[in-house]
Amino acid sequence: MKRGIMKHWNIVVYEIKHRRLGFCAGLLSLTAATAGALIIVLQLRAHDLSTENIVIETEKNLRSEMTQLENRYRRIMRDMGHNVLIMNKEQDMAEFRRLGHPDTYMDYDDVWKLAHGDLTTLNHLLPVLQKRIFWEEQETGIMLSGISGQVPVFTKPEFLTEDHQYRSPIVRRIPDGMANLGAEIAVALNLRPGETITLAGREFVINRIHARRGSDDDFTVSIPLQDAQEILGKENRINGIFALECVCSLDDLGKIHTEVEAILPHAKVYEFSSLIAPRAKVRQQAAEAHRRVVASVLQQRDEMRRDKERRAAVLLPLLFSGAALWIMLTIFANVRERRGEIGILRALGFLRREILAIFLLKALLMGVIGGFAGCALGLYGGIVWSGVAITKANVLTLLDPVMPVAALLAAPALACLASVIPALAAAHIDPAKILAED
């Protein structure tokens, strides 16, 4: 024959009602410990969430800055003008560098083939014929440059008027019978705009003298392309096509090659890397700076988290051991108060394990109620004090279903563990000693 669990449960419930204070004291400590633990964990999760948001925000800002930087550089590149030169594929590049111009040639029609081709990377095309010559009339060496007007790129109608003229040409056509001079040559020969010069037996009126550029341009005499072709004996020939304001970055060069070579298989593209590389370098540096900012933010946040973890590592054991100690003392006090009761229960035939069960059931009840109360308080407090905006998304991110479940299991477990020693002491009370005291 056995007593049912309901009998023990009745004893527990009625006794709790009878001695509320002790039970509430234990309950309070468990509630505080559970709530405290949840708040600490939520603070750590909130920290992670804030870090994530800060990094996202920082990256967004930096991306925006990078885009602005990119646009600035595009404008600078555009302003820098000629940045790609298309020349004959057979051109020896060492010779090109030595002479300062190509010494292989292409047909003038090639520029029109490009103009009608499928171009997306080039906006303006300028055919040229250049050669370093000796200007016999002035007895000096010059760079002779024959240029025509810009050839319209028909795939870029946004730059063109209805009759296929450039709305804002970058290089203006040199009128027939006129010439433009570089600054150095003009100074050396004491030449001024409006004066007439003779070049290879042909007369040209000086149209313009360029400002000093510190390059070969300062020794260049530019004349209409057709005149240059005739003087150099290269009718209908050119030795280069400058692509102006190309929308290029280091990454786009491959595309330019592909596009140009698809239209002109005998041509190749030479890029002025001295202009593009710094741009790419600056961009890489910006990206590096970007990464450093994010890394610095992450490091700072990481240090803060470690600091919080260190505090949690001290606080959590303190909370739980404090609660456990308090529950143990509470149950010990309860055992002491109920010595007479335990004596008569043993005299009535209660087994030791039943006495143990009565105290452990009480602790379990304390743990379950304390767990629920602590859970509610901890989740509420943890979210309110998390420091993140209370939105549905944030709350859902902060709340991990494991947390309340763990708290609801940990609180009763802690209460029962803390009560084991006093409950065992109760179970081993000598009833004879108690009853003999009467």
Partner: protein, 216 residues
């Protein structure tokens, strides 16, 4: 069938001189027999009763209940033996203050619904029918002892061990309680009643007088 105490001895050791509470005590309680042990306080009566009930291990001798040597059993088996065969009544009643009358009685009950019916019937017989849901604090001392008596009888025990059951009662209540105890014996139960109260001596049955742990 009987509760037999044979050559029971128990000495308590303290900082002062050892106290011999029981000195080779032997007695037998047969069904329907009321055995009364009288004596002054401290003569060893309670030690005898607790030892007889399997709560206090003697130094020597043995207690046999229906051929079972009580102290040869484990602590838990002795508890089971007490729950099924022995009813205890104490001078201080030892009712649980937070349980009402019916729950105090049911506390000792081993079986379910039939115990509840028996508890109500016994409480009615002991004039406590109106007090089922009263807490001990609101009962008179006589009522409390009657509740303790009903609790002792709820499992229909073979033996009733009573320690000063009338010690705190007035004459009327003492007489009433004694009448119930005698009735239990008359109905076939064995009773060991230890008391220094002379009012218990009027009851029929075997009587011993104890002094310094021995029957005189």
């Amino acid at each position: 069938m009987s509760l037999r105490i044979h050559q029971l001895s128990k000495t308590f050791y303290s900082t002062d001189a050892p106290v011999k509470a029981l000195d080779s005590i032997s007695l037998e309680i047969k069904p329907g027999e009321l055995v009364t042990v009288n004596g002054r306080s401290g003569c060893g009566k309670t030690t005898l009763l607790l030892s007889a009930g399997g709560l206090l291990l003697p130094d020597h001798g043995e207690v046999t209940i229906d051929e079972h040597i009580l102290y040869a059993l484990s602590t838990e088996d002795r508890a089971r033996m007490r729950a099924g065969k022995i009813g205890f009544v104490f001078q201080q009643f030892h009712l649980l203050p937070y349980l009402d009358v019916i729950n105090n009685v049911m506390l000792a009950a081993l079986a379910g619904t039939e115990s509840l019916a028996r508890a109500k019937e016994l409480l009615k017989r002991f004039n406590l029918a109106e007090r089922l849901h009263h807490k001990p604090g609101s009962l008179s001392t006589g009522e409390r002892q009657r509740v303790a008596l009903v609790r002792a009888l709820i499992n229909n025990p073979l033996y009733l061990l009573a320690d000063e059951p009338t010690g705190n009662l007035d004459d009327d209540n003492a007489a009433e309680v004694m009448a119930y105890i005698v009735e239990f014996a008359t109905d076939g139960g064995g009773v060991l009643l230890v008391s220094h109260d002379p009012r218990t001596g009027d009851s029929a049955g075997t009587r011993y007088t104890m002094n310094k742990g021995r029957f005189v």
